[in-house]
Amino acid sequence: SQTIHQWPATLVQPVGSPLSLECTVEGTSNPNLYWYRQAAGRGLQLLFYSVGIGQISSEVPQNLSASRPQDRQFILSSKKLLLSDSGFYLCASSPTGTGNDYTFGSGTRLTVV
């Protein structure tokens, strides 16, 4: 079964600083990978998904970017954080070609101050 390692668990960053959140997956090869954000009092919004190395699809325009340098590594980045980037970020994976089995990381709570 898949296991997702996501870190850090909490992060406080000043406005204008860069961001890098990392997610790694174990127990599967060539997974589909996803980044979600949950803003305070709101639902889970899909930000990016990837079906392979270097293949990134963006779901919403924003201040963030994603990269997949290795098969089981997914990185969420920003060059300059905004206050509105605060939220709870979740990484998820699913076996390629299925769409019926998702595993989630434990999340990173980002506060931009």
Binding site: N32, Y34, Y36, R42, G43, L44, Q45, L46, Y49, L90, A92, S94, G99, N100, Y102, F104, G105, S106, G107
Partner: protein, 110 residues
């Protein structure tokens, strides 16, 4: 494009009462449907999912959901709730990626 609507943002209920959390979806193809629960300051936990077969799906913690294709619904139910069921509940639909509804906050009162 796939989408999910959770009609109730908050549902207050007394302990031991039944509850139904509503979910409607939109998709052009066959989909998979999910319910997740998020307890305060925690990540997501899968309650149940519908892939195919029987339209009544039983999950953990006494929850169940019924898939209704004609009404494009996947409502979550529990016959008797506990204080510990207080949490945020998310309905989600998957074609090739998982899309969530905006969530329903279930508040159980003693």
């Amino acid at each position: 494009a796939q989408s999910v609507t959770q009609l109730d943002s908050q549902v207050p209920v007394f302990e031991e009462a039944p509850v139904e959390l509503r979910c409607n979806y939109s998709s052009s193809v066959s989909v998979y449907l999910f319910w997740y629960v998020q307890y305060p300051n925690q990540g997501l936990q899968l309650l149940l999912k519908y892939l195919s077969g029987s339209t009544l799906v039983k999950g953990i913690n006494g929850f169940e959901a019924e898939f209704n294709k004609s009404q494009t619904s996947f409502h979550l139910r529990k016959p008797s709730v506990h204080i510990s069921d207080t949490a945020e509940y998310f309905c989600a639909v998957s074609e090739n990626k998982l899309i969530f509804g905006t969530g329903t906050r279930l508040q159980v009162f003693p």
